[in-house]
Symmetry: C3
């Protein structure tokens, strides 16, 4: 059953309201309450003087009202006194400027001092509340990576990076070879000569960059694991999570989540729309519904990150405060997003936040209650959800999809380190492919390159730039088809061009060599002929040598007739960046090739399945009549699906 | 009578020219000469060695020729030796970079050392020339705020900010509550822990920002008052002013001008056009005339700042040097602008500058004389003004308008501190409202929230974000109507959301609560229905709860029928950002509601009154025939008003 | 005969390949091999321990295979140990940030320490290889100015700048007068008070800037000369060069090249296109051919810089890695560019590079061989060139053109120091004029203001802002016509407005004074009437006073009928920035006036002459039929010139 939760900040409102708030939450149908992730300075206002009383009381009030508490470690926002005594814990930005106290996330992951402080305060929290009967789960820190805080260019980071490099390469020769330092007389004689890759005259070796990204990701994992260890020991039986951000790739989420019990993420579709690369016209069309596939993609990604267990820890409840523009979602959207989450495998949806705060940075952030305590729109939508969930069976779980789509953090960093074309974005490519699949009504699992391949009919690799021989071997041994985008396998582990030329190890599956690449500006349209139809493409184009079947070709003055899509029975390779209609039609054709049924959906409609249940969502402002062929029972909603509507049916097989 | 003046730089030209220059000024009809505002290093070339001789001589030459001198304190540009001995007087920018010597305004308002140096040199100037018979007025410093120099992030500023906070809040609890430091564990235990709000990881508390803006404004006022005190004592009977910039809001001009005898401002309409937010097409249309309402608005504002007394200290004389593009005004514009100034209550117009300088930063800045000493275009336009002013009665003063428009500096800083939508600009909103009124041929007084309300029929509050219970009380006791824009009253003194929800205290005048706000991108057009006509709006939209009469509504998928304009007999509130035709038509309707006559003017025409005189200006390149109904006498110009033309008439009542 | 060369990096590939590579080069027709310009850390891995063995071996292998070696001094990329021992050699950027090791060009030209290190390593190289029988030429350093490294804001630079100023001005009075420090109280009492012109509150005196640019240029010249001196002494009889960048103007190339034996430059037309200011549509049209006149202009410029002797040291061989987008040239373009170079007087074209490198920053940079050693496209194009060159006579030299076009580095810096309009670019103006001439099929010499004027029919001065009385005197004594663009002669040596007003000394040739200038935004179109036709212009407009014949006038509301083009028998002056059709038609008319024949070419066609040979190039994708009137013999190609085609004919006179 879809469980509901809320983020609560007792420290930001009057004590008088706590009991009333707890009661109102329970009445509304809330089960989970996350608290205390920014509570450090309220608990330890001055060094080593602890005021637990208020927090004890809050937990008691919530628990006694019947609520389950998600407790947090408060390390995302160290107090001012701590910073003043230890200014070197502050992060340093790419320009070399030390960032100051006054907001949050003002720490450097490479500060060993801060790691110790974090362990110490986490231990204090864990010892006090680890076995509290009302505390059922723990969140560590808050939104790693927000405000671009993964990369820090501090002296601490430099020191730690050198140690990390020593561990990775053992010898200077190995590092020099990996980074290609013979290129511009960049040879290093000692690990301690290496500096961080900022403020150079010109770009550094991409391997220097890539290693810095890897190192920075590892630092976050080490930091996080230290808190897991403390919680495991002191909060036995409680589930541990971290609340990730939507589609953030500055650290390896798979690795960080290895020892978490479940993944959770913070879903803000309105800001995601505004920050997207869509045209103004498209943004306007989706202004108050957001991109249908943006939350869905993240649900699918974090389901994998959480090894099947995923929450939404913060669900946008109305307009927020932090984007360039902060429009209101359509009335009904919070309900729609909640059911969308559930349909994609999310077990708990927590709303951020209970009361709109009157002061400080997020005073424009909507909440379940207005600043004056009266219900805002989402309050009524939650009431509706609570009614609707009674209509559903409780035991439905998400099943494995037929389609896997690989998301590889290391390849993202490769793209970052050496984009070659200024707007070449593997993030956008992956979203586009996911969306193209979703518009065909098929379920997709987002997976890591290390995921089990059994059970999939086809795996899509939109952007796996980093060559991966192990992956290729596993594909060879599996009954699965493969579809590769441009640049897949084009770089070795150390970011060299593979000896056998791209697509590297994938050349074992297909006779194909990439002999020239171009990054192209958006205005330089290439004509691609596929199934006798002409399409436009831009951004990236490769010339390949192949003896395999050519499925699409380039047309025009430049290398007319060159291969744009190549394939054999096992694998297809696209030498052109797929987008728009070309992407849609190639994906369709590829699903047919993989024997997967699909339906072209109305542009506002999305469909997905959880167990026996099929959820249909209408992201548009017009009612849409569905044409469902198989026999089914509607649990709620109707076949004429209303604007901003949800329909759930059980298929009768 | 309109008096004329000129800015003169004897130190920048050969001594041989001084006598001749003075004579030519007198012949041209000039009365006032402002000098010496950048003269420090010419007077005190090395520390404590003063060379007054040249300045004595200049003043004598000017005075003996019959000219009145506006003497300046030279503190806007301290000499190099002073900076080198006291490098900590330099301002520090937001990135933390100390700005170097080599231009002007290279001082930090929080440097106590520089305050002492300023007092010392001002005293020297005041003692020497305070009672000079030719020196009739004093200008303090020059254009506070130019080159973004109000905010300085120096150690001096940090120290002074802490003292200012202690004075404001007395206790840390008060500060913590005001800033809402419980929000992200931002609690302070000592005032000395507080830092300046730059280089943070994420935005600081908006109250932290707002207080820094308030503090910075106060520093300027303190700095300025120190020089007023010296001049009052040493230059008895001389009028004191400062030359402000057009529509600059980084400090509180009302407060700074409290003890000045008159306000003056520097009018550069060509640069103001280029820096405006108009489309290219609109800019091109007004390329050589500038925005008709930009100088007018500033005249009206500074008339209020100067408590009725206002000069133009620097009038653009032709193309200048400092904008991205520096087009020539149309021939005749300097005359037009001069009469426009007079019509709006300006008593003296000084042209910047006498001779075009051959060297240094402003060598492209036009002047009355070309670099070779021959007259440039403006010379002839001044001759024309001198002839025309003989045709006017001498005793006409500007009268109070029926309409007040509130300009509140503190609310500007609120907008700056928490815009919520990236291009939400209360400066633009205020300009737009002023312009909409001006296009209807009505006179407007720009007033502070503390101004006397008697005598006004209606007060417009385009952007008074900061709630103001005292103002509301005064409105309740006055026979005046009120028109409020979006966000009025939406923040308390400490920048919290008011307990009673926006519009805060204004809720005493109207039963209305704002329960949701949205900032919207320009492409997200909202349809508003007003008087059965449909309009487009964008940028900002609110949902309100009200029992009052709804005068305009939203139409569309989102909250169809919601109130866009609400009113009772006393007050109207617009929940949508008014712009374009919607703004124009709402303003028209509102004037009728307030029983104020108006005429829709030709787009190139502006009309305003000074005493019994009505001035009409044609900003266009085509002649426009006026249709004047009441009996009148034309003093100069004609009813068929020529391109770039001015017509003055006296109405016969 | 066109000789071919290649850039080779033996240190970046396996030793096993050296012999094979040398043989393959010889077989391909390569004569020259440039090596070692980034070899420092390979030769001196640790301080004072030299490993010459590999380089000795490489040179022997190349030489024995029959190749001539261009040896380089390796100073463009000092090793890490050197930087770590001497961190003050690093350059400092405009923000004051010291740039770090990790790429190349990480040195400040004002570091005396680095100058000594450079001399020392250059001496080591020169002593070892100066008389090596295979080393026939030397390249000093590599691409001065790349990555914006001419201007450094280091303490070393500040110290050196003060000394330079003392040398230039001798007295402070002279400096104060030159910089116009009386302007804003900017007076200096000691040379040591002067700082570098960065991080000011507002722009510095333009003369301060101009002097800093001059100083910075001089520092490069001094640095370069030190290496010339060493090579002259130790590499007797070897030709010395530096490889310049395309159209780079941050230092005075004429001065730097004074003692070089030949100039060489690095030609990358694809990046030049992407970085150009063309519209997207125009860029798309030339996407894979580049701008026809961009390489041609540089050939002509560097031919003059090299006093008639010029190479292309690096010819783009395919897609590269460093632009925002890196498209592939059309197949055949490398051949076309090679012949274009030869036609414009280039004697040797070297391709960058032999093998595509698998690692480091430029791994996406194409080469003659793919990373796997197989030939890429350019390999086959070189084969074609080698065949074709057999068909041409060997003894043809470029002859003096009838048209000179002045390129003055100092004027560029004036423009930089005081642009007045934000997009006023003398670089673009010069390119436009060169291109307008090229489209008429006439040969042009790019010349310095000091060049011999005899033999030219007409000299074009598109942008010589700096007044130059000596030049005017030489024009007076020569039988040559002159065509001046806007702003010519508008600034004296010290960047003042000339006493006689612009065009300064040129006023001796024409009765004309510029009495007003305007910089105009692109949307502010001015109508110019020329030969009874109307044209649009924008960007810059002047009002002039003249008694000379007016050849074109402005039309419109502003100063209707004012002179846009003025001329007498000797000289023409344009008061409007010429562009588009106006430029083309004025240039045409001006050629007729100067009695120079021209032909309006097809837009894709360019024609130029070397000795008796006429080269015709087709930059388009369609064949173009030529209509050649005079008797001729075709050496290769045909009259129906193929897409991306070259035709060479000898005219029979």
């Amino acid at each position: 059953m879809l469980e509901l939760g809320v983020c609560y900040y007792p420290e930001q409102c009057s004590r008088d309201l706590w009991v009333e708030d707890a009661q109102r939450m329970v009445e509304l149908g809330i089960k989970w309450v996350r608290i205390a992730e920014f509570s450090w300075s309220e608990v330890e206002k001055t060094p080593n003087v602890f005021n637990w009383q208020w927090l004890d009381e809050v937990i008691d009030i919530l628990g006694e009202a019947g609520l389950d508490v998600v407790m947090s470690t408060p390390t995302a926002a160290p107090p001012k006194w701590l910073v003043d005594f230890n200014p070197d814990i502050l992060p340093v930005d790419e320009n070399g400027v030390t960032r100051k106290f006054g907001a949050r996330r003002h720490y450097c992951f490479s500060s060993e001092k801060y790691l110790e402080f974090s362990k110490s305060i986490a231990l204090k929290y864990a010892k006090r509340y680890g076995q509290n009967k009302y505390v059922k789960a723990w969140q560590i820190d808050n939104e790693y990576g927000d405000h671009d805080t993964i990369l820090s260019y501090s002296e601490n980071a430099e020191r730690a990076f050198r140690i990390w490099l020593k561990k990775r390469y053992h010898t200077l020769d190995a590092l020099n070879e990996a980074w290609g330092t013979s290129f511009w007389s960049m040879n290093y004689n000692q690990f301690d000569e290496v500096e961080l890759p900022n403020n150079l005259v010109e770009e550094p070796s991409p391997t220097h960059l890539l290693d810095f990204y890897r190192f920075s990701s590892d630092q976050v994992c080490v930091y996080n694991q230290a808190q897991i260890d403390i919680l495991r020991e002191n909060a036995p039986g409680r589930k541990i999570t971290h609340n990730f951000m939507g589609h953030h790739s500055a650290f390896d989420h798979y690795k960080l989540a290895e020892n978490l019990d479940f993944a959770s993420w913070d879903s803000y579709p309105m800001g995601a729309l505004i920050h997207s690369n869509l045209s103004d016209e498209e943004k306007n069309k989706r202004l108050r519904t957001g991109l249908p596939d943006q939350p869905a993609f993240n649900h699918d990604l974090y389901r994998h990150v959480g090894k099947g267990n995923v929450w939404v820890m913060e669900q946008q409840p109305g307009p927020v405060n932090w984007a360039e523009y902060n429009q209101s979602p359509a009335d009904g959207m919070i309900r729609l997003w909640s059911w969308l989450a559930y349909a994609h495998g999310v077990d708990v949806v927590c709303y951020f936040r209970w009361r709109q705060v009157k002061f400080a940075q997020e005073q424009f952030h909507a909440a379940i209650l207005l600043p004056n305590g009266q219900p805002d729109q989402v309050f009524y939508e939650i009431q509706q959800i609570v009614e609707e969930r009674k209509l559903l069976p409780k035991d439905q779980s998400r099943r494995q999809a037929k389609i896997g789509l690989v998301y590889d953090y290391q390849s993202r960093w490769c793209n970052e380190a050496l984009p070659q074309g200024q707007d070449y974005s593997s993030a956008i490519i992956t979203s586009d492919w996911y969306s193209a699949l979703s518009k065909l009504g098929v379920d997709v699992d987002v997976i890591s390159p290390d995921a089990e391949l059994d059970g999939y009919e086809i795996i899509f690799l939109p952007d796996m730039m980093l060559d991966n021989d192990k992956f290729v071997k596993r594909v060879q041994n599996a009954d699965v088809k493969l579809f590769l985008g441009t640049r897949v396998g084009s770089k070795t582990e150390n970011m060299h061009i593979p000896d056998q030329l791209p697509p590297g190890s994938f050349g074992q599956l297909i006779d194909l060599k990439v002999i020239r690449v171009e990054s192209l500006p958006p205005y330089a349209k290439q004509i691609v002929v596929f199934n006798e139809k002409e399409y436009e493409a831009s951004g990236w184009r490769e010339s390949v040598k192949t003896s395999e079947k050519i499925l699409a070709t380039y047309k025009g003055d430049y290398r007319n007739g060159g291969a744009a899509l190549v394939g054999n029975e096992k694998i297809r390779y696209s030498s052109v960046k797929l987008e728009g209609n070309l992407l849609n039609d190639v994906i369709k054709d590829t699903l047919s090739w993989a024997n997967i049924d699909y339906t072209k959906l109305h542009e506002d409609i999305r469909v997905t399945n959880r167990g026996d249940l099929t959820f249909t969502f209408n992201f548009g402002n017009e009612a849409v009549a569905l044409d469902i062929l198989n026999e089914h029972e509607i649990l709620f909603g109707s076949n004429e699906i209303e604007p901003i509507g949800v329909m759930v049916r059980r298929n009768i097989s």
